[in-house]
């Protein structure tokens, strides 16, 4: 397939970003982590921090169609190195997503498919997405986002639980540790910043609306989810571990007795789209190499890379993974765009 002149709109970019964030929430295992009012407050702080962190990107991509790496380093060795970092980072993120999803399948649906089968099938499907390109993935993502919203609303509507206002406890100074803990966790999931930076060249228009829409909807979705979980499920979410799954575990209709499998179905749709995006970003970061080996081969290489990193990171310490994620966000999502803004401004002044 020939590489076309790919352009996606700010709306499509928003869809990809929000799906990636929702995916992380879906497969986030809350076993030792109690959801409650401190966590809801932490989300307010993280949203503010993310807004500040996104300023370089908004300034850089206010008209879209801009590659920060090219601005800073052209096509030289530095550019190759930075692109390699982007590529490796998103392979790491993809491997992490695959691992969490496989763990979820093993914990909840271990008779349906083995973890290795899950990884391979997901990777193949994601590689196919990456091969077909980001436009198709973004368009499909729009439909998947609708599916998720419908599922969320339906589960909330048919939940048999009652709102227990007593579960909304006041936040005290003793909750500071918890607030900080969640804030850092949430910030370490903010790889939407490097996503936006790496896909800057594909954007048709400015990212102001994308960023604004993403932050607001992420805040609303997560706060609503946490509110529902706190009011309806309370400590029970720790039993199942997955907040969205727990919400579905207590929902019932005449036709659908249990929402677990329905949840898994929608998460699967999301996982393919999101991993497809990661593999695409990784593959397109090959730069000149991608043009040489072709779109199909670069997607395949990225897919293999994700599986290899998954296997290598099986025994990886959580703390190390956390450091890698956060470092990537800061370096690739904030520092590189900031540097690009400065270089661009300098060039504009010189002209």
């Amino acid at each position: 397939m020939e590489e076309k002149n790919i352009k996606i709109s700010s709306g499509q970019m928003y869809v990809l970003l929000i799906l990636a964030r929702i995916m992380h929430t879906m497969i986030f295992h809350a076993k030792e982590f109690k959801i409650g009012t401190p966590v809801m407050l932490a989300l307010v702080f993280t949203t503010i921090i993310e807004s500040v962190m996104s300023i370089p990107l908004i300034l850089l991509l206010k008209d879209g169609g801009c590659d920060p790496v090219s601005i800073i380093a052209g096509n030289g060795r530095l550019a190759v190195f930075v692109r390699f970092l982007y590529s490796a980072y998103f392979l790491f993120i993809s491997a992490g997503t695959l691992m969490y999803f496989a763990q979820f399948m093993k914990a909840e649906f271990n008779k349906t498919a083995t973890p290795m089968a899950v990884i391979i099938v997901l990777t193949l499907a994601a590689a196919y997405c990456a091969y077909l390109g980001i436009e198709g993935t973004a368009r499909a993502g729009t439909i998947v986002l609708w599916a998720f919203m419908v599922l969320f609303v339906v589960m909330a509507a048919v939940s048999e639980g009652e709102f227990e206002r007593l579960n909304l406890l006041p936040v005290t100074l003793k909750d500071t540790d918890k607030i900080l803990d969640y804030a850092v966790r949430d910030l370490s999931s903010s790889w939407w910043l490097p996503m936006l930076a790496s896909m800057g060249a594909y954007l048709k228009n400015g990212v102001g609306k994308t960023v604004g829409g993403y932050l607001i909807s992420k805040f609303l979705i997560l706060e609503t989810l946490m509110l529902l979980v706190t009011l309806v499920l309370w400590n029970f979410v720790g039993v199942l571990g997955y907040p969205m799954l727990a919400l579905g575990a207590y929902a019932k209709t005449v036709f659908i007795q249990r929402f677990d499998a329905i949840n898994m179905f929608v998460w699967c749709l999301n996982c393919v789209i999101v991993n497809g995006t990661y593999l695409f970003i990784s593959a397109q970061s090959f730069g000149e190499g991608r043009r040489k080996i072709g779109v199909a081969a670069s997607s395949a290489v990225a897919a293999i890379g994700a599986v290899v990193i998954f296997l290598m990171s099986l025994g990886l310490n959580d703390g190390v993974a956390f450091v890698i994620k956060l470092s990537g966000i800061v370096l690739l999502g904030v520092i590189v765009p900031l540097a690009a803004v400065i270089v661009k401004k300098k060039r504009a002044n010189q002209e």
Binding site: M1, T112, A113, A138, R139, Q257, D260, F265, V272
Partner: protein
């Protein structure tokens, strides 16, 4: 164009006639009538059953016999036949044997004059053509019942009757090395992007097949998506639908001898639109479209989801359904997936049989076969009743969308395999892969999943809901409005 016959007509009549016979390999359907017109030797060449004898007599032979000029020269006779005495709806001066052969094959009569190295071809088609009939694949309750014809010109006339405007354009292109089939591009000037016209023309000219006998021969050349599961080029048998589509800036390709037109670009949502939607009130159209969308999902995915739920996720099913399922599966010898495949294949065989048999018998065979075989299979315990009901609902749903029959058939089979192997996980992967395939399909920069994704608000007026005509007339929506169709790619 065959270089062997692309040579000028000989002035000597006998030599020209011999050449024509040589070109047609002494074919028995070549008729040569030699006449003397005012003393000058002429010949009228036709192909058997391609021309109308009555038309020829009146239009050609009578004037020829009436021409009486003293000491007439060949040039005088040629002058008479070319511009004075014989007139036809379509007539053309021809210079080469290639032109002669093409005109003869198109139902023209060719007149040659001894001593003149040119000839005249007169349209006198008299071959039998099918009358205009009702559409067999795009039935409707209200509205016109006319369908396109095998004859290209008849089809053109049907379209012209609906768009009585000079902006409606027909462009002929020939394709097929042996068949020299006439293709006709149909579009409305000013609505269809120039780039689209150029691309289609160029692609049609690149067809190197020997024969063009079906629309299917042309579609792969017009479409630009290899590996696309859904086709971004659709076909239609109805002139009213074709007129509506070209009014939105699309381009259609008519094929001589085929009563279907290929239309591109096509959107996924168009498979759910019918003529009746525009005859009824919008609220009924809305309801009917919902039914069709539901029918698509039922036809494609219900068997797969059923198998997935029964085998992997029985907790999803309601108790009554689950217990009925277990009770009915208790006595069947095959696993559920195998049963499902057997029933699907049975259904496909019955459907094929119903299609291929004569109409008088075909319908009865389908009904009897389905009832008898189905009932016997359930009674004997080979398959379970719930499964037969599922397939019945699936089959009926697939009949609601004939244009997506191929896709729903494949999705159904693959869905059963995926659902049987990996439950809802398999179904999720399957649906995502096909969704992305559809989303990545585009035809001349128009995404196949428009206007849903990418979302175009003004084009949503005819997706699920059909806005009233009064509102429609306030704002035009053409294909260029659907993301990137402005020819800048």
């Amino acid at each position: 164009m065959n270089d062997d016959i692309n040579i000028n007509i000989y002035p000597r009549l006998e030599r020209s006639i011999a050449k024509i016979k040589e070109i047609f390999g002494e074919s028995a359907d070549v008729n040569v009538v030699k006449v003397y017109v005012s003393g000058v030797r002429c010949a009228v060449v036709t192909l058997e059953a391609m021309v109308s004898s009555a038309d020829l007599s009146k239009m050609l032979f009578a004037p020829l016999m009436d021409f009486n000029m003293k000491n007439a020269l060949p040039e005088d006779v040629f002058e008479f036949i070319s511009s004075q005495g014989i007139f036809s709806v379509e007539q053309k001066q021809i210079k080469t044997f290639d032109d002669i052969s093409q005109k003869l094959c198109s139902g023209f009569a060719v007149v040659l004059v001894n001593g003149i190295d040119k000839g005249m071809a007169y349209s006198a088609q008299g071959f039998s053509i099918k009358s205009i009939e009702e559409s067999s694949t795009e039935a409707n309750v209200k509205g016109t019942k006319e369908a396109l014809s095998d004859n290209l010109r008849t089809s053109m006339s049907l379209i012209r009757r609906r768009v009585k405007n000079p902006l409606l354009r027909f462009e002929f292109v020939k394709a097929g090395k042996l068949s020299n089939t006439e293709l006709c591009l149909v579009y409305i000037e000013g609505k269809t992007p120039e780039k689209l016209k150029k691309l289609i023309r160029a692609r049609l000219k690149r067809i190197k097949l020997d024969l063009i006998l079906t629309t299917g021969s042309v579609l792969p050349f017009v479409s630009e998506n290899r590996g696309a599961f859904f086709s971004a080029v659709s076909t239609t048998e109805r002139p009213d639908v074709l007129a509506a589509k070209i009014n939105e800036g699309r381009i259609a390709v008519l094929i001589d001898g085929v009563p279907y037109a290929a239309v591109c670009p096509t959107l996924f949502i168009e498979n759910f639109q019918t003529v009746d939607d525009y005859e009824e009130k919008p609220y009924l159209a809305f309801y009917q479209r919902l039914i069709r969308y539901a029918a698509f999902f039922i036809a494609s995915f219900l068997p797969g989801f059923y198998v997935a739920a029964a085998m992997h996720h029985p907790e999803v099913l309601s108790r009554a359904l689950l217990l009925n399922l277990i009770a009915s599966e208790e006595s069947t010898p095959f696993p559920l997936v195998a049963e499902m495949f057997i029933v699907i294949v049975m259904f496909e065989i019955l459907r094929e049989a119903g299609l291929r048999l004569p109409k008088a018998v075909g319908g009865a065979v389908s009904i009897v076969g389905g009832l008898v075989i189905g009932d016997a299979a359930v009674t004997s315990g080979l398959i379970s009743a719930p499964l037969l009901i599922i397939i019945g609902i699936t089959a009926t749903s697939s009949f609601a969308l004939p244009s997506l029959n191929a896709q729903t058939t494949v999705l159904r089979l693959v869905g059963v395999a995926a659902g049987g192997m990996w439950g809802f996980f398999g179904m999720g992967i399957l649906i995502t892969v096909f969704l992305i395939n559809a989303a990545a399909t585009d035809c001349f920069a128009v995404p196949y999943t428009s206007p849903i994704a990418p979302f175009t608000l003004k084009a949503m007026r005819d997706v699920l809901v059909r806005v009233g005509f009064k509102k429609m007339q306030q704002q035009e929506v053409i294909i260029e409005d659907l993301n990137g169709a402005k020819g800048d790619k």
